[in-house]
Structure formats: structure tokens, C-alpha cells
């Protein structure tokens, strides 16, 4: 069974249909990059996968959970599906360590000692062990984003979603975040990422999906897709994205 199965999703904002029947299947351990212009529906699609957005028709299954509006079942789903946002969204009143330990403690009743060990482990994975007691405001954007990734990892998710996680960062800070993500990908994490980092999509993602006007316009193995776009829309997009 695929880790993520999206079947014919339709989503409207008022009269504007932003997803016009999107289907996508992601296998366990696969890394899928979703690219496309702003307004193509890529972020909305990603947010549907952990229930931050609802949809009007279609079906989503993630990590063995069927997407639902039932709050209890939705929480069970979210325990297995991590998301990292463009704006980091760390909790500013908590230290880095507290940010990471909070959710395992209150949603899975992980004992304090175990949560602490877990937090140290994930923080080491993103290379920020020394920031355990810092507050988010005292970290750079890149560091905050790595903590946000660590916070997600502490829930031991089966699927990770990344919503333009480097878009708010200064260019010199994107590298450190991308390295962490690449390490995750190599470690076998199932990942879906909405990104503007074409290089990263091409080199790290197994599959790249190009969204256009609320549809999956073109998709395929990343290297082929970038080398030989089949549609003029993707060809233009790739050319424009080459900076």
C-alpha cells in the first residue's frame, strides 16, 4: 500500500476551483517534489494531506489513515504526518528543547526522561544540539527551520510534508536546511515537498510533479522531467526557474 494515496481531489475557495481533480500516489521511502507557479494549488494540495485544508470531493489516505473531519481520528493521522512550514512557526515562549518535547509528551504520554532523550537525538540530527536551551528568537531563520524539522521528527512521523520551507530564508541560509532534508531523504523518510528549489527537486526527489491551474500537468522521475519537459508550460517554467 502506498504511504500517500490521493484520489481525484477537488477543492474550491468560494467559486474558485484551486484543485480540479488531483491524483497522486507516493510509496514508502519515496521523495516527491511538487513544483509550479504560485496559485497552481501545490500548497493547498500539501495542506490537504494533513487536514489543514478540507476538500470537496475525492479521497486521501496517509500512513494507513483515511482523511476525515473527525477530530479524534484526525489527531491520530497527524501523529504520523509531520509538516514543516515556510514561516517555521516555532512556539516563541518555549525553548528549543521544550518546543520539541511538548508534543510527544502531551499527545503520546512519552515520559519526561524519554522525551528528553528523543529531543536530544532529533536536535543532533539537525546539527543544533547546543541550542537546546535557546529561545527561537535568538536563532537565525535557518536554525529555526531546522528546529522546526526536529520538532516534527520527534513525533516519529511516517510521512513528512514540507511547505516551501526555504522560501522565507536568506539565500545563504537555505543550504543548511536543504542538507538536513537531503539527509532525511537518504535515511528513507517518505517526503512530499512543495519547493522552488529546482536543483534540490532535480537531485534529491525521486519524482517531481508539476502542477498547473489546479491539475497535475506533468510528472515523472525528476531528472527526466527536468531534462525533457513534455509540455510547453513546464518547459517555460523550468526555463524561467533557471534564474
Amino acid at each position: 500500500m502506498p504511504a500517500v494515496l490521493i484520489e481525484d481531489i477537488h477543492k474550491r475557495f468560494g467559486s474558485l476551483e484551486v484543485l480540479k481533480g488531483v491524483s497522486l500516489s507516493v510509496d514508502t521511502g519515496q521523495v516527491v517534489a511538487i513544483i509550479g507557479r504560485s496559485g497552481s494549488g501545490k500548497s493547498t494540495l500539501l495542506r490537504c494531506i494533513n487536514g489543514l485544508e478540507t476538500f470537496h470531493a475525492g479521497k486521501i489516505e496517509v500512513a494507513g489513515h483515511v482523511m476525515t473531519q473527525d477530530p479524534t481520528k484526525l489527531r491520530e493521522l497527524r501523529k504520523d504526518v509531520g509538516i514543516v512550514f515556510q514561516s517555521y512557526n516555532l512556539f516563541p515562549h518555549l525553548t528549543v528543547g521544550q518546543n520539541i518535547m511538548l508534543s510527544p509528551r502531551i499527545t503520546k504520554n512519552v515520559p519526561q526522561a524519554q522525551a528528553l532523550a528523543l529531543a536530544k537525538d532529533v536536535l543532533a540530527q539537525v546539527g543544533l544540539s547546543e541550542k537546546f536551551d535557546s529561545y527561537p528568537d535568538n536563532l537565525s531563520g535557518g536554525q529555526q527551520q531546522r528546529v522546526a524539522i526536529a520538532r516534527s521528527l520527534a513525533m516519529q512521523p511516517k510521512v513528512m510534508l514540507f511547505d516551501e520551507v526555504t522560501s522565507a530564508l536568506d539565500p545563504e541560509l537555505t543550504g543548511e536546511v536543504l542538507i538536513v532534508m537531503e539527509k532525511l531523504a537518504k535515511g528513507g523518510m517518505t517526503m512530499l515537498l512543495v519547493t522552488h528549489e529546482m536543483n534540490f527537486a532535480r537531485t534529491v526527489a525521486d519524482t517531481t510533479v508539476f502542477m498547473h491551474q489546479g491539475l497535475i500537468w506533468e510528472s515523472g522521475p525528476s531528472k527526466e522531467l527536468f531534462a525533457n519537459p513534455q509540455t510547453p508550460e513546464l518547459a517555460n517554467f523550468v526555463k524561467a526557474g533557471a534564474h
Partner: protein, 217 residues
């Protein structure tokens, strides 16, 4: 004729105690009711939202004096006799609740929406999100305006004299009626109000500074 001496000063100080007691009680009870109304205003359930909104609108739109008259004279006309202290505490609590509800609703709403999203995405329930993520941040935002309101409250308690309750202000007037040494008396009364409110104002200023200097502590 009496002159303004120690017995009068002691009388005024005792009455200042009543002003303080009234402030504390009104603030305490008003906080509980106000907190509940703030949450109701933000509820997903429409009639709760409307009910809380209506309550706040009505209370904020009428003078607190009217609430006091209604709970004291109004209820006694209906055969319910409230002692002045009770009527005063009740009306001030109602007044406080409506204002704190709005201050706190604003504070809760000023926590960025993304904090909700991040919290819910981490499988927290709405109650856990409030408790661990939203309220700790909202409390910080709300502290300066809340303390500022408390200072207003200390001074506004003086209206309770209209139902015959002897607070700090009323005590000053009574002593004045007996001694006619208005300047001295009201200087003392003003000094006492100042002694109560000044530390609170300083506290409010201090909190604001601390929070601006580092949002991280």
C-alpha cells in the same frame, strides 16, 4: 467643630481598605467571568459567540453607575435586598468582566494564526493548543493593558458611594463635612489613591518594557 487629626486619618485609611477590597473582589470575579466570555466570543458555536458579544456590548454601552443602580435599587424594588457591599461588588465585577473579556479576546486573537496551525499539525487538541501554545502567549500580550485597566478600576470604585457604601472617596467627603478642611483632607485622599495606583502603573510600564526587550523570556 472637629478638626482633621489622627482619628480622621485612620477612618480614611480604613475606608481605603474597603476600596482595595472592592477592587480585588471585582477584579477577581470579573476575571473569571471575563475569561469565560473571552473564550465564548472566540467559540466556534455561533450562539455562544453572539451571546457573549451581546453581553459585552450591553455592559460597555451603559454607565457602570446604571448597573449599580439596577442591582441595588432595581432588585430591592423586586423585593431582593442586597447589602451595599454585595451590590457594589456584583456590579463592579460585571463591569470588569465586560472590559477584560474584550482585552483578552484581542490578546488571544493577536497570537498569529500560524501558531494554531503548527499546534494542530502536531496532533494537539484544541484544548491543548489553548493551554500550551495560545494562552501563554496571549497572557504576555494582555498583561500591560490588563494592569492598566486595574488602575482605572481602583479609581472607578469611587462610584459605589451612591449606594451608601463608604469607600476611600466617600470617607474623605464625610470627614470634610465634619471638619471643612477640604484641602488637607483631599490631599490625603489623593495621596492614598496615588500610593495604590502608582506602583501598578509602574508595574504595567515595566511589563511592557520587559516584553518588548525580549519576547523570549
Amino acid at each position: 467643630m472637629q478638626t482633621f487629626g489622627w482619628p480622621e486619618i485612620l477612618f480614611i485609611l480604613r475606608s481605603a481598605g474597603w476600596t482595595l477590597a472592592l477592587t480585588v473582589i471585582a477584579f477577581f470575579i470579573g476575571s473569571i467571568i471575563g475569561g469565560a466570555f473571552a473564550l465564548m466570543r472566540l467559540s466556534r458555536i455561533r450562539w455562544l459567540r453572539r451571546f457573549a458579544g451581546g453581553y459585552i456590548l450591553v455592559i460597555q454601552s451603559i454607565p457602570v453607575l446604571m448597573v449599580l443602580f439596577m442591582s441595588y435599587y432595581g432588585l430591592s424594588a423586586l423585593g431582593v435586598e442586597l447589602p451595599p457591599f454585595l451590590a457594589a461588588s456584583a456590579s463592579l465585577s460585571i463591569y470588569v468582566s465586560a472590559y477584560l473579556a474584550e482585552i483578552w479576546r484581542g490578546s488571544i486573537e493577536s497570537v498569529p494564526r500560524q501558531q494554531w496551525e503548527a499546534s494542530m499539525s502536531l496532533a494537539h487538541s484544541p484544548a491543548q493548543t489553548y493551554r500550551h501554545v495560545i494562552l501563554p502567549q496571549a497572557v504576555r500580550i494582555s498583561l500591560p493593558p490588563t494592569v492598566g485597566f486595574l488602575v482605572q478600576l481602583v479609581k472607578n470604585t469611587s462610584i459605589v458611594q451612591v449606594v451608601g457604601f463608604v469607600d476611600l472617596m466617600r470617607a474623605g467627603m464625610l470627614v470634610n463635612n465634619a471638619t471643612y478642611q477640604a484641602f488637607q483632607i483631599f490631599t490625603v485622599v489623593a495621596a492614598i489613591y496615588f500610593a495604590i495606583c502608582f506602583p501598578l502603573s509602574r508595574l504595567s510600564r515595566h511589563l511592557e518594557k520587559v516584553m518588548n526587550a525580549s519576547r523570549s523570556h
